[in-house]
């Protein structure tokens, strides 16, 4: 079973993600909704969801976008018995922070926050092209904003840094126990090619079945902008699993 874990939480990004974000990129997969105000709480929400969805079934291939990629890796670290593989997509949250440069891509979103127009602005800003932004996506984002509780940035960022630190410790020591791939959009304004490669390098230290892929002319949502290439990469990874 393939389980899709979204990123994009209100309070951190000016667009509200959810199961709708995946569109029809991976049709046979199950998309879940993340809840919680810290990375640890969100990780537990993913773990709980896959236990419920996958009760009595085979282990899950977790496909996580941005923060969802980190959550997927966390579940693979904590409960490898539940996870067959991880795909981390444009996972800025999991990539090393470094002493990076300030990114102003999403600064000064138009108000009211989380309105349709404000979210359209954000989605356009993180994309290579605006063509994938349709009413289904915007309606989904507005509905997600209505049901999701915004996180508090201070508390959330502290939990993110703690979680990331643990991820790289595990990468260096015991290693992630399941095959992992990192997929990056070539034109993601929120990150750089190097960030994706360093996430891969971290995982690749101890996990033999690690791969890194770049999809051209895609921003932070490569599964929406280049769904065919995305499907090709994911299905080849699944097919080539040991």
């Amino acid at each position: 079973m393939m389980v899709l874990v979204h990123g994009g939480v209100p309070g951190i990004t000016p667009y509200c993600s959810g199961p709708h974000i995946w569109g029809s990129s991976l049709e046979k997969a199950v998309a879940i909704e993340v809840s919680g105000l810290t990375v640890d709480a969100m990780t537990q929400s993913v773990r709980k969801a896959i236990v419920e969805k996958g009760a009595g079934k085979a282990r899950c291939h977790l496909v996580g976008h941005d923060l969802g990629g980190l959550l997927a890796l966390n579940v693979a670290i904590e409960s490898p018995e539940l996870v067959s593989a991880v795909t981390a997509v444009a996972s800025v949250a999991a990539a090393p922070t470094g002493d990076g440069l300030a990114d102003y891509t999403l600064a000064h979103p138009p108000k009211p926050l989380w309105s349709c127009e404000s979210q359209r602005w954000a989605l356009e800003r993180v994309s290579y092209s605006h063509h994938h932004i349709d009413s289904a996506l915007l309606d989904g984002c507005v509905a997600a904003a209505a049901r999701q509780q915004p996180v508090h940035a201070d508390e959330f960022v502290a939990s993110l840094m703690k979680s990331k630190s643990r991820l790289y410790e595990v990468c260096r020591t015991d290693g992630i126990k399941v095959p992992c791939q990192v997929i990056w959009g070539s034109h993601d304004p929120l990150t750089t090619f190097d960030h994706g490669l360093w996430l891969f390098r971290g995982i690749a230290q101890k996990q033999r079945a690690a791969q890194f892929h770049v999809i051209n002319r895609a921003g932070a949502l490569p599964f929406r902008e280049e769904p065919e290439a995305f499907r090709h990469v994911v299905s080849a990874f699944v097919e080539g699993l040991p």
């Binding site: 070539s186 090619f193 490669l197 891969f200 690749a204 996990q207 033999r208 079945a209 690690a210 791969q211 890194f212 892929h213 770049v214 999809i215 051209n216 002319r217 065919e228 290439a229 499907r231 090709h232 990469v233 299905s235 080849a236 990874f237 097919e239 080539g240 040991p242």
Partner: protein, 293 residues
């Protein structure tokens, strides 16, 4: 059992050419690396032995021996150049009367496949380049990693040492692989190419300077966006002879002009990801071609 189907012969502009094929469907043609006249190692169609049978289940998979390599005749008129290799490869595709093919080129074969695409767009449907330091801009490190093998040229020990140093896992170099290298090295026509490239110095006088000149031109053509075909770059992450940075730079050259440009990195793999991780490599190729159908 032989890892390749029974070989066939075809006359390609007067060059007796050895090739292997299996399956039906869209043609995919593999071009291996190396060049004629090397005495410490030798490539042949065997290089792709882990691809032909699995990929022939869905495609018409074809491997041929390049001019002067494997069992194919040496170039005519002592034309020991990469241009002759590209000309022969294009003439081979025409001789088989193939519809536009999916080319897969490794190392020096990645250069040949790319140059062939640039010169003969009508023969090519897509291009896959694998760990090609020859094509990529930047500094090649073969000389650094493979300098002066500690065994005499032409021995099994030497061939094993060379391919082990190309690889992440030395155990991937099987006796069967070394057998295939030794078979090529033992052919009188191959020994003639070694004599030409070394004793007559055609390697340093002709092959390398001509390649350098044409590589400059090839990179300029890529920079101008003249490839005009979907392209993917697949790279073994731990290759010390064509390091990952070279793959990235090459991918970025392609991606500037081609929407359908993908970059794939395979962990725990040296120069031959298709031999170290055939399952993962073949899956990438299979899905790539299906996505273009």
């Amino acid at each position: 059992m032989s890892p390749l189907p029974e070989g066939r012969w075809i006359d390609v502009d007067g060059i007796r050419t050895r090739y292997f094929e299996a399956g039906t469907g869209e043609p995919m043609v593999f071009i291996y690396g190396g060049n004629f006249g090397t005495g410490d190692s030798a490539s042949s169609a065997y290089t792709w032995s882990k691809q032909l049978a699995p990929l022939s289940e869905r495609f018409r998979a074809i491997v041929f021996d390049k001019v002067g390599q494997g069992e194919t005749d040496n170039p005519k008129n002592d034309d020991y150049t990469m241009a002759a290799v590209v000309r022969h490869a294009a003439a081979f595709l025409r001789a088989l009367k193939l519809p536009p093919a999916h080319l897969v080129g490794h190392s020096r074969g990645g250069y040949a496949a790319t140059r062939l695409t640039l010169e003969h767009h009508d023969l090519v449907k897509s291009l896959t380049v694998v760990n090609s330091g020859t094509l990529s801009p930047g500094v090649g490190t073969n000389e650094v990693v493979l300098a002066k093998p500690p065994h005499p040229a032409g021995t099994r020990e030497c061939a094993r040492w060379v391919y082990q140093n190309y690889s992440f896992d030395p155990n991937v170099v099987t006796e069967e692989w070394v057998d295939a290298v030794m078979l090529t090295l033992s052919l009188p026509k191959y020994q003639e190419s070694v004599r030409k490239m070394t004793l007559e110095k055609l390697g340093s006088k002709l092959f390398l300077p001509e390649l350098a000149r044409e590589k400059r031109e090839t990179l300029q053509w890529l920079d101008e966006g003249r490839l005009q075909r979907p392209v993917q770059v697949i790279w073994g992450f731990n290759d010390r002879t064509a390091v990952i940075d070279r793959g990235i730079e090459l991918y970025q050259m392609f991606a500037r002009h081609e929407r359908r440009a993908l970059f794939h990195v395979i962990n725990q793999s040296g120069h031959f990801p298709f031999r170290e991780h055939p399952g993962r490599f073949n899956a990438l190729l299979r899905r790539w071609i299906e996505s273009l159908q």
